[in-house]
């Protein structure tokens, strides 16, 4: 009841322990930063320096040549257009897929939170199990379903797959949020005669800004970083960046120029890293929310 200063958690007492603590944290930080720094620094080296073989050395003459090559002329197979088309494809796929799966998840989540039925729990359980089903057990029938609508390996097809595969996840996140929203709010809207969709649009959505951002960030990261679905469902004209990147790296000519490969890898990682660094708290919150699935 009483407002008092926040209780301070016990600290490691002895100075040695405190030192050990920081030593551990610094070593861990180095472990986490190592691959990123290494890849970035080598992507900035010209080929002569790469051939000297010292991976950890800083670039003596930093150059963006490898980045330029990776961006527009590295070969992914037969064509040599770099990762640029892949970036555009990824944007084209990710943006609509994120928007649709997030909004549909919000609507479903609200409906499920409102839905009082003996079977509601069972359905939630089935949805939750859906989160953990290995994609492999659904891939081939999905291919068949899409083919029968002429959507396999098309732009619309890949978006549809991302939306459907992401739906249980977004729905569950929103449902968990909406279960915590006082029911009186919906009831009040209902007393005013608002329909379900009207209530959702005018009353519930405006309350949901935070969770919308959180879910959109999670979905963005997930879809942008997807490899398997893009590989199978996108079709050659819409291959996302992750697929293009592996094609560049695994291309026979690619292995000769690691700096270009690394530059391509960094370019691929940049969008999600930007989102991560800009969204900070939301990202963390989303992870914590997503972790307690159910």
């Amino acid at each position: 009841m009483t407002r008092s200063p926040p209780f301070e958690r016990p600290v490691f007492g002895p100075r040695a322990a405190r030192f050990g603590l920081y030593a551990f944290l610094f070593v861990s930080a180095a472990f986490f930063l190592l691959p990123l720094l290494l890849v970035i620094s080598n992507s900035l080296k010209p080929m002569e320096e790469i051939r000297q073989g010292n991976l950890l050395a800083f670039p003596v003459k930093p150059t963006f040549d490898a980045w330029v090559t990776a961006w527009k002329s590295a070969c992914t197979g037969l064509d040599c257009g770099g990762v640029r088309p892949g970036l555009w494809n990824s944007v084209k796929i990710t943006v609509p897929a994120v928007v649709i799966s997030t909004l549909a998840g919000a609507l479903n989540g609200y409906a499920l939170a409102q839905w009082k039925s003996r079977h509601a729990n069972l359905i939630m359980l089935l949805v939750m199990v859906g989160l953990f089903i290995p994609y492999q057990a659904m891939l081939y029938p999905t291919v068949k379903i899409l083919s029968s609508f002429g959507l396999f390996r098309t732009y619309c097809g890949i978006i549809l797959v991302h939306v459907v595969y992401g739906l249980p996840y977004t729905t569950l996140l929103f449902r968990n949020f909406y279960v915590g929203v006082p029911e009186e709010i919906s009831r009040a809207a209902r007393m005013e005669g608002a329909s379900f969709f009207r209530t959702f649009r005018s009353v519930i959505l405006p309350l949901s800004t935070n969770i919308l951002v959180v879910v959109a960030i999670l979905q963005f990261t997930g879809i942008w970083n997807d490899y398997l679905l893009g590989l199978i469902f996108a079709g050659n004209d819409n291959l996302p960046m992750t697929v293009q990147l592996t094609n560049i790296v695994n291309n026979a000519r690619g292995s000769a120029s690691p700096n270009v490969n690394m530059a391509a890898a960094v370019i691929t990682a940049i969008p999600t890293l930007i989102v991560y660094f800009l969204s900070g708290r939301y990202f963390v919150r989303g992870i914590a929310a997503g972790a307690v699935k159910g």
């Binding site: 609200y110 953990f132 659904m138 379900f196 890898a265 900070g280 990202f283 992870i287």
Partner: protein, 291 residues
């Protein structure tokens, strides 16, 4: 029921039905379809003649599948234990009022924003025996230094573990840290009043009290393991030889490259059954909690 449906202008049920229809068709319908195919002689094209458990027999006598399963177990155990231990340690330390907490957290967590493809490629370059760490240490004068796990069939699987831990430790840290921050101040006060040493407080009071959080961490990591595809593709492509093959890769390969639908379906269903078996206790307790 009928009158109830007619009376309502407030209809969450329509949305629920549409949603559940989509999930039912795409998820459960697909699973049934896959399950059925696994019982047929389908190879290149679907063949709907029932063949009993032939495909499963073929699958479980397939050397590559057995190696894949073994690899998954080795990888899974090391990855889950390693990530949990490392992530928990980080979270405990981050909860100790350290300086620059948010900087450390940012560093520990950023791998999660990086795709598994880029993760795998980066670690492949770092651990590359010629150009990576080994070459580097040898270049500094230690000629006999050997760190060629990536190309060593017996050890390549451990490099996947390293990369996996790198990718997910931050996730576990954040989840556990959120749990730690949720621990009641009064509980810490009680621990101090009783004079319980810190390590016993964590091991015997705090973590046992956070069992649901830890469980959901394990569940998350387990589903990573069973689905694990991208990391292998980017890092080892299953090699050297078949030393790092995984069931997920096996299934995809047999679906799309080797085109043996029946065998691939059998592999997928086996993966599904395995994940359901592993997750069943979790779902059971979740379900009971909600009822």
């Amino acid at each position: 029921m009928r009158t109830w449906l007619h009376r309502q202008t407030f209809r969450p049920d329509i949305t629920v039905v549409v949603f559940f229809g989509v999930v039912a068709v795409f998820f459960y319908g697909s699973i049934l379809w896959t399950g059925y195919m696994s019982l047929t002689r389908s190879t290149l094209i679907p063949n709907y003649n029932f063949a009993g458990f032939d495909q499963y027999i073929r699958l479980f006598t397939n050397q590559r599948w057995l190696v894949s399963c073994l690899n998954m177990v080795i990888f899974g155990v090391l990855y889950i234990v390693g990530t949990l231990a490392f992530g928990t340690l980080l979270s405990v330390f981050a909860d100790r009022r350290i300086r620059a907490e948010s900087l450390f957290r940012t560093i520990f967590l950023y791998p999660l924003a990086v795709s598994l493809i880029v993760t795998g490629l980066s670690w492949r370059w770092v651990l590359d025996p010629v150009n990576g760490l080994q070459g580097l240490v040898r270049g500094m004068g230690w000629e006999s230094f050997t760190f060629d796990w990536l190309t060593d069939p017996d050890r390549a699987i451990y490099t996947l573990v390293i990369a996996g831990i790198w990718h997910s430790a931050g996730l576990i840290m954040v989840i556990i840290l959120a749990g730690l921050r949720g621990v009641d101040d009064d509980l810490w006060k009680a621990i101090r009043m009783e004079g319980i040493p810190l390590w016993r407080a964590y091991l015997q009071v705090i973590f046992p009290g956070m069992r649901p959080v830890v469980t959901s961490c394990v569940v998350l990591l387990m589903s990573d393991v069973i689905r694990g595809y991208d990391l292998v593709i980017a890092m080892t492509k299953g090699g050297p030889g078949i030393a790092t093959e995984m069931p997920a890769k096996f299934a995809v390969d047999y679906y799309f490259a080797r085109v043996n639908l029946g065998l691939a379906s059998a592999a997928s269903i086996s993966m599904l059954v395995l994940s359901l078996l592993l997750l069943a206790p979790y779902f059971y307790s979740e379900f009971r909690r909600r009822m």
